[in-house]
């Protein structure tokens, strides 16, 4: 059993693992889609999970978030195995997930969306204040239905949950989906700031170029397996072959 964390990587050696997937297999009904995935996110790291559609990135995020149970293998949070954990329990342990698409409730107002982030015990006022400080536009929209905002604003709202619940690890699935490039880079600026505040991040992303600059480690997923792991620079060089066949 090999754990695919590059021991050579500078920060990785010292920092303890926050999130580990060890030989994880997962399936939708009878169809297995993850065939043994090993992945480590260490404290303070940004791990980018790259690869084409259907490679298993989203499924990996789902397993890590507790939305989909692993059929075999192990998921560990901060070194402790959390077999069959429910997503709501994972969330209260500090695993914050922004799922694919928009991580918001479209028929609730912006304010009510933010209130839902008080599950971990922060007050409503603090949650709102933190979100508005980072994204002032949300303050103007506070009584608007979240579903009526632009895609970028919705994603800001989704991200502000990560700002306010003080998670240990942030799981992002296709943050850039359906957004203008400028908004995407703004989003990743926010993610970079979060990392500086000490949050570890696992980000699944189809568009490698947007996420590689902020990543510490990059992994490429193909056909339900980790095909390659390395520093962002190495992976960047490999990527064209991955996407264009090989």
């Amino acid at each position: 059993m090999t754990i695919t964390a590059p021991a050579a990587h500078a920060t990785a050696v010292v920092a303890p693992p926050i999130l580990e997937l060890i030989d994880v297999r997962a399936s939708y009904g009878p169809i297995e889609v993850l065939h043994g995935v090993d992945l480590i996110v260490r404290a303070g790291q940004v791990v980018a999970l790259l690869g084409p559609n259907g490679g298993g990135k989203s499924t990996t995020v789902k397993v890590a978030a507790g939305l989909l149970p692993a059929t075999s293998g192990e998921v560990r949070y901060a070194g402790r195995p959390v077999e069959g954990i429910a997503a709501q329990d994972a969330a209260s342990l500090g695993v914050c997930t922004i799922p694919e698409g928009r991580g918001i409730f479209p028929n609730l107002s912006v304010r009510e969306n933010l209130w839902l982030a008080t599950g971990t015990g922060t007050s409503r006022a603090r949650v709102e204040e933190a979100a508005y400080r980072r994204f002032p536009i949300l303050a103007d929209r506070r009584n608007q239905l979240a579903g009526s905002m632009s895609g970028g604003e919705q994603q800001m709202l989704a991200l502000s949950r990560a700002l306010t619940t003080d998670p240990a690890v942030l799981l992002l699935d296709e943050l850039s989906m359906g957004l203008a490039p400028m908004i995407v880079s703004q989003m990743y600026d926010t993610v970079a700031q979060l990392v500086e505040e000490g949050i570890s991040v696992l980000v699944a992303e189809q568009f490698a170029r947007t996420v590689l600059p902020i990543a510490d480690v990059a992994a490429v997923m193909l056909h339900g397996r980790i095909a390659a792991v390395g520093s962002p620079a190495e992976i960047d060089a490999d990527l064209s072959t991955t996407y264009l066949g090989g």
Binding site: A87, G103, F105, N107, L108, E112, W115, L116, T118
Partner: protein, 768 residues
Amino acid sequence: MDLFLTYTILGLVLGSVYAIAASGLVLTYTTSGIFNFAHGAQAMLAAFLYWQFKVAWGMPTLVAFVLVVCVIGPLLGIVLYNVLMKGLRDVEEVTKVVVTVAVLLGMVALSQWIWDPTQARKMDMLFGSSTSIDVFGVVVRYHELLCVVSAIALAVALRLVFTRTRLGVTMRAVVDDPDLLRLNGYNPERIAMSSWALGSGLAAFAGVLVTPVAGGSLEANTLTLLVIDTFAAAMFGRLRSIPRTFACAIALGLVVTYAGGYAPTQWDWVSNFKAALPMVVLFLVLLVLPQDRLRGTSQTRTRERARVPSVRQAAVWGLAFVAIMYLILQVASPIMVGPLIAALVFAVIALSLVPLTGYAGEINLAPLSFGAIGVIVAFHTGIVGTGLAARLNWVGIVAGTIVTALVGGLVALPALRLRGLYLALGTMAFGGIVSTLVIKEIQPRHWFGLDIALFPAGILVVPPPKIGPLDMAKESTFLMTLAVLFAVLGIGIVALRNTGYGRRLAAMKDSPAATAMLGQSLVKLKLSVFMLSAGIAGLGGILMASTAGSVSAENFLIVVSLSLVMLTVVGGVSHVSGALFGGVMVGLVFTLISGTFSGLAIEHPEFESLFGSFAHLFAIAVALMGIGVNQNPTGVVHQICESYRPLRNARPVLYAGGAVAAGVYVLNYVGVYGDWWLAILMFCGVLLLPIVGRIWMPERMMTPAELAEHEARRTPPPELMGLDQPLSDTERFELDLLLGLPPRPLPLQEFAEELEQLTGKDEVHAPA
């Protein structure tokens, strides 16, 4: 002016109760996606419980009220959610509908068991009917005041809960995206459970309030249907919006009261119309509801699996069915022929559900009401002769069928733009209108230049049909004709499923969006299949009336329709055999079991209560079957057929089974035992044969995986080795290996074999 004020206040009171009931309904639907047809039954049970506590056991009003509304009501909701509704996420709409309908029927049966319906019970107003205050000269009882005040308080409270509290906001969030809510650290299950607790508490509250307002007499069916009147209000709020629901409920209460109060006394139909009004409003609301958006992505995988038989298979089964009916006819005692005919007649009505619900995924909750239309038309057009020589001719049958099909089209029209649940509610409204308006048309009236009554004197006498030389006055002829008719219709429906039209229906059920994008007109598909279904139901209704000799309002009760729909789904609504199952259960088994038990009760008066309980237990057991549909949504018959599939590889078992069946039949034929024994032996034999096969010829009956498991269960685990007999050398060797001990040497030959086996295994396991 005083009169107007009185009516207004009475209307407001009724509207308030409607509002309380409807808001509970909306609450449970939005958070769990299940429309609770049993909402009215819950209210009914609460009213009975309150009566039991207050009147029968003499508890103080407040204690009884709190116990029923704040404790038992919510508890019932929690139990319902945890036991049943939680598992209803990935099933078709019809399964959800049937499970809650089954709960409704079970609760009605339960209440009739506990509280004997022949005994009259009266429930007084809370605080008594003498306590009152004066509002602008109108006497308003405290109870009525409580209704209005609590409805207003509830409206305000719900508003606050939904926008200000965490529970309320999460309840709304569950509707949007349960998974995302999980990721936020909330448990959607628990939120849905709280909403069911709250909704059921509101149902109980409405039940306790509504009974005195509606006259005070406790009757299970009436009370259940009373809350069903609130469906219109819930629908007006599009099952989402509480304010709109409240508005419609209040308006409904006012309109019903004004209609009753201000109509001229010579309009004798007004009292019927008043009863039908909520259903009429439901219909109108369905008309004005905006069209559903077609969504391609929301299609989820469901657990129902239906095999489509080929026409040839259907023809073989049809022939076999007619042959079996013939054989049964040879041995059945004459009193059994009537129930058999009833079974087939109900099977024909149930058959109307196969193309509609099974193939196209639309739901009709009132097939018998369509039958009633057929009967009325046939009665007015097709009877020739008088007295014992009277016959129903083919004109009546054809006219009844066609008119019912047309009426079916009309009924489906408003709901065509909408999804399954709305159409189901539309048919239920139609059923209500038929039983409150059409069947109550017992006085002659001037219709288009003719003076006729639709339903003269409340009873229609329909003679046996006669088509050409085929006179069905003789029961055996009728039975065989029905058997042939059912077989032909069944084969026809299977054939229809195998045509392009049938495939389009199936496509529409799976994904309306994709079907529309392939250029199919959903409206045409829905309308045509609904007319076809209504026509079959009309035909079945006519035949039902002429087998019964006469029909009255009791034959078309919505509860009977619901039972038939439920049992057909239990049998498997995508299969013709499921319709047969439903028909046999409703037409034959019901009558037989209740008849047998009441017969036994008369024969043995000392056990009367025991046998009475058995009859009630049976009614509840039937409801439990409906509830169990969640475990097996494809249907019972399908399950039995699947268990027979492997028997094709084990012919000897089949032959032996056939021989035993023939033997059982012959013994009955020569009179060794009666029909009951034949039925019981056949029933057990049919269910046991696959099990016998698995024991007798496991290697032919099981898949390799099952066989391996079977073998593994036979070989004892290592820790039991050596207990019943001394260990052999090989076993000792294996045990040593397992325990990690140095193995004692084996005799050379065995050792070589063992080694070969082990290394062989190793090679299989080690990846290259």
